[in-house]
């Protein structure tokens, strides 16, 4: 099939190709589009539910409230109402913004997140592409988001936006290196950068307790790395206690201050997609991807498990948001460079030693 990238497999495209009985190059292109459309929409729907509805409901649970309950069952139709509300608003373009970069910035954020999902194995054939360098790819496109944030901050011609953008850069540099180093320790275990192989490597049972086999998910194999990754991921997606690029009480809304209407929706969407992409990376690297936790539950499709895992990570971010104070920018940089980076290298070295001894 298509093999643009070196040694890339395209399970979902192949599946659609065969299902619809296509033939030739045009058929491949159409199946590729259909596959991308499918994956993109699954994630957009997730973010669509998460943003206007689940976020409110989860926060309400933590704060003794009820939240939206008027429109539709459990207030679910608030999603429609919110969409209409947000899209119907006037797009205010402030004087002195730097166009077209001001218009490009909101596109980069959701774009980079959606691109990241292309290589995530979601169970069964639900994986758009499976390149040999999948892990590198997903981190590379996820970091594009910081570029969008910086462009937004710089082009808005607003001092609060500017500060927010600069904070975002400082934060991303400080946290993406530990993130990658921790991910590298997983690669040492799995012996591959291909995400499907990382998932497959976690399938073997780790130990058997009372007849139930605990799979060798890297969260169980190396909980230290898992916790480190969770923390670094919170910074990567900019959620409490690391929501400092936006920091509503300090910087009004940070880099989104000057955006309204559709552009604001794009930022909003992009942020939620990034939370889910972070969840997807965590699920793939540490939670066995789409695998069921115990084999007797594997009759439930892998895709359901995958969604469950990324939503759990989303729930975790909302929990942090409700309970943990925001950390100060300089303290955060300090924790990133002096704490997490050191710990992640220690983790890497120990993992290397461990893998070397076992192997």
């Amino acid at each position: 099939m298509i093999n643009f990238l070196l040694n890339t497999q395209t399970p979902l495209v192949d599946a659609i190709y065969h299902l619809l009985g296509f033939d030739g190059f045009i058929g491949t292109i159409i199946s590729a589009f259909l596959a991308a459309f499918l994956i993109g929409n699954i994630m957009l729907i997730s973010a669509g539910i998460a943003g206007p509805w689940a976020k409110r409901k989860i926060t309400a649970l933590f704060t003794d409230r009820i939240a939206v309950n008027r429109l539709g069952p459990f207030g679910l139709l608030i999603i429609v109402a919110d969409a209409v509300r947000l899209l119907a608003k006037e797009l205010i373009v402030p004087e002195g913004v730097d166009r077209p970069s001001w218009d490009i910035a909101p596109l980069i954020l959701p774009f980079s997140a959606l691109l990241g999902f292309a290589v995530i194995p979601m169970g069964g054939p639900l994986q758009l592409a499976d390149p040999e360098t999948g892990l590198v790819f997903v981190f590379a496109v996820a970091s594009l988001a910081s570029m969008g944030v910086v462009i937004a901050g710089y082009s808005s011609n607003n001092k609060f936006s500017m500060l927010g953008g600069l904070r975002a850069v400082a934060m991303n540099i400080a946290y993406e290196i530990p993130l990658l180093v921790i991910a590298a320790s997983v690669v040492l275990f799995a012996g591959s950068l291909r995400l499907s192989e990382i998932v497959a490597a976690q399938a073997d049972p780790l130990i058997v307790i009372a007849g139930i086999a605990i799979p060798s998910w890297y969260a169980f194999v190396n909980p230290f790395a898992f916790v480190l990754f969770l923390v670094a991921n919170l910074a990567e997606i900019g959620r409490n206690p690391f929501d400092i690029p936006e920091a509503p009480t300090e910087l009004v809304a940070g880099y989104v201050t000057e955006y309204s209407s559709v552009y604001f929706v794009l930022f909003f969407l992009g942020e939620f997609l990034h939370v889910f992409l972070g969840g997807a990376i965590i699920a793939t690297l540490f939670l066995g991807g789409p695998a069921a936790p115990i084999s007797s539950l594997s009759f439930i499709p892998g895709f359901v498990w995958f969604l469950l895992k990324i939503w759990s990570v989303f729930f975790f971010t909302q929990w942090m948001r409700a309970a943990i104070p925001r950390i100060r920018i300089d303290q955060m940089i300090e924790i990133g460079w002096k704490g997490l980076l050191v710990l992640s290298f220690i983790n890497l070295i120990f993992t290397a030693v461990l893998v070397g001894v076992i192997a």
Binding site: F62, T63, N240, D243, T249, E250, V252, R321, P325
Partner: protein, 556 residues
């Protein structure tokens, strides 16, 4: 409570052996500086020359121990202008002294006190702004409540209220921007900003994210409260207005400030039963106000509408509904009357009192919850401990009072030190912490909620057992109140944010000739640059949150 009079150091002039103030000794110390002695209802006052302000106040501060300039009142008479400096001592607030500085009608001026007390800076700016007295030697004599382009001084006698004012929009400039080398950035934090707790405008100069200078620009919520009160009668009309100063449900505390000043002015004795009702209501208000302070502070530190904020709101709501049952209103209580309160407890009494008891029983676990979620949280401590330092000396210089002063280790609480109401008969403690930082202020507020609950508990016990025939809620007060002409009084109470003082001068009519409000938030806010300069923007926001200002009271 322990005795209100605290033994003072021997070398302080003007204090007799039994701890009371000897004004003849003070007069002797000041010598020629005193032109005349006036008698105000609260304390005697010395009249001095306009060019002797600095010398007199320095002597009084250094030799006689008057380290607290609580208020500066300016006013215009038919024949002269006058500034009054109300002095007190942090150690013994019952030692009061007024310094009266008359100045000529055609050229109102007097020496500024800002070199002696830094708090005079803002107070004199306000006096200049509203009355029009010029303070010689003031470092920065600009308008403070009104816009810079305002014409005239609204509280002066010849001010034309009907004249339209044109307020031009001016862009704020970075005072340092011409100096390209230093790379600073001017940023307007507010007047519309999530962390300013209302309409406060902080003109901030940043170097990177470090605060180089911050100048609070206030007055956006100025509603001419002083002038309005000057047009209303003592007996009925003024009382609803104090509710609108500190409107964060601390209404009864404000009403008490006016009630205390007016009652002392015309010698009204409040029945004991009414004093208990007042004390209980006021302490419930304090709990309410402190819960709001805790909640909004959490908002500043945590970022979003988080659990703490909602918990604080939930707990506050219980108190709010109790107050609603008591007064009939949720915010604008209007419950006090001169000589007592407007009505007794709602019937059935036992049901109402048990509602309070149920709330009081939940207070300790509530405080524990806040401690678990906030004060013991390490990130919270990272953000609060040793941040926003306000040393006791600086705090005294700025006339800081209330939880902010007590967080800096200044043991100053008018409920104990200048007793009023029923406090002296109850068992409670003044909470102080020595940290001088944001964290201490927060702990003081939590501690005060506990102490207030203790006071309310004792009040409820008293009310439960109070004989039915003795439930007198109001003294006999004449329908019209006309204090003697030229009677002057300054009286303060311990409001939620600190010393809330009222100065009233009567001209023999039913309405005050001058009604001046000494707002604790106003003085507390003036310390912001002391706390924030050198820190980062998040520290500035946290320091502002820890001051717990209410702009309704700052701007009046």
């Amino acid at each position: 409570m322990s005795s209100a009079i605290i033994p003072v150091k021997k070398d302080i002039i003007g204090v007799s052996k039994n701890g009371t103030l000897d004004y003849t000794k003070l007069e002797k110390m000041l010598g020629d500086l005193v032109l005349q002695k006036e008698d105000h209802v609260n304390a005697p006052a010395f009249v001095i020359r306009p060019d002797a302000v600095e010398e007199t106040l320095t002597l009084l501060r250094d030799e006689a121990g008057f380290d607290h300039l609580s208020c500066v009142t300016a006013q215009e008479y038919e024949d002269r202008f006058e500034s009054i400096y109300h002095l007190r001592k942090y150690d013994s607030p019952q030692h009061e002294l007024g310094i009266v500085v008359p100045s000529p009608k055609n050229n109102p001026w007097n020496q500024s006190a800002s070199s002696v007390f830094r708090t005079a800076d803002w107070h004199e700016r306000e006096a200049y702004d509203l009355v029009g007295i010029h303070y010689e030697g003031h470092p920065d004599l600009r308008r403070i409540l009104l816009p810079d382009t305002w014409q005239g001084h609204p509280l002066s006698l010849d001010y034309d209220q009907n004249k339209p004012q044109i307020i031009a929009l001016q862009e704020h400039e970075n005072p340092l921007q011409n100096n390209v080398e230093d790379n600073t950035m001017f940023i307007n934090i507010g007047p519309h900003h999530p962390a300013t707790h209302g309409v406060l405008h902080l003109k901030t100069v940043l170097d990177g994210e470090h605060v180089v200078a911050v100048d609070p620009d206030i007055g956006y919520l100025h509603r001419c409260e002083e002038q309005m009160c000057q047009g209303l009668n003592y007996r009925y009309q003024i009382m609803p207005y104090p509710d609108r100063w500190d409107y964060s449900s601390a209404g009864l505390l404000n009403e008490w400030a006016y009630a205390r000043a007016a009652e002392d002015l015309v010698n009204i004795e409040v029945p004991e039963y009414a004093e208990i009702l007042r004390t209980m209501g006021a302490e419930l208000c304090r709990i309410c106000a402190h819960f709001l302070a805790v909640g909004t502070f959490a908002l500043d530190i945590y970022g979003d509408f988080t659990a703490i904020f909602m918990y604080a709101m939930r707990d506050r709501e219980i108190v709010q509904s109790i107050l609603e049952d008591l007064t009939g209103q949720r915010m604008m209580f209007n419950y006090f009357r001169l000589g007592g309160v407007v009505w007794d407890l709602p019937e059935p009494r036992s049901e109402f009192l048990s509602k309070i008891r149920i709330f009081l029983d939940s207070v300790p676990s509530g405080i524990q919850e806040y401690s678990d979620l906030m004060t013991s949280n390490e990130i919270f401590q990272l953000r609060c401990v040793d941040i926003g330092i306000l040393s006791p000396d600086v705090a005294r210089q700025y006339g800081v009072t209330g939880p902010v002063a007590r967080g800096s280790g200044i043991d100053y609480d008018l409920r104990r030190d200048d007793p009023y109401g029923y406090y002296k008969n109850l068992d409670w403690d003044v909470v102080t912490k020595d940290g001088c930082d944001i964290y201490s202020r927060f702990l003081v507020r939590l501690g005060e909620v506990e102490q207030s609950a203790k006071i309310v508990d004792q009040c409820v016990s008293l009310l439960e057992s109070w004989p039915e025939e003795d439930r007198i809620i109001q003294a006999n007060v004449p329908r019209t109140i006309k204090p003697p002409a030229d009677a002057e009084i300054y009286r303060a109470v311990e409001a939620a944010k600190g010393e809330l003082g009222i100065y009233i001068r009567s001209d023999g009519t039913q309405q005050p000739a001058r009604f001046k409000i000494r707002s604790p938030c106003f003085s507390n806010l003036s310390t912001l640059s002391e706390m924030a300069v050198g820190g980062l923007v998040p520290d500035l926001i946290a320091a502002l949150g820890s001051l717990d200002i209410v702009l309704g009271e700052v701007d009046r």
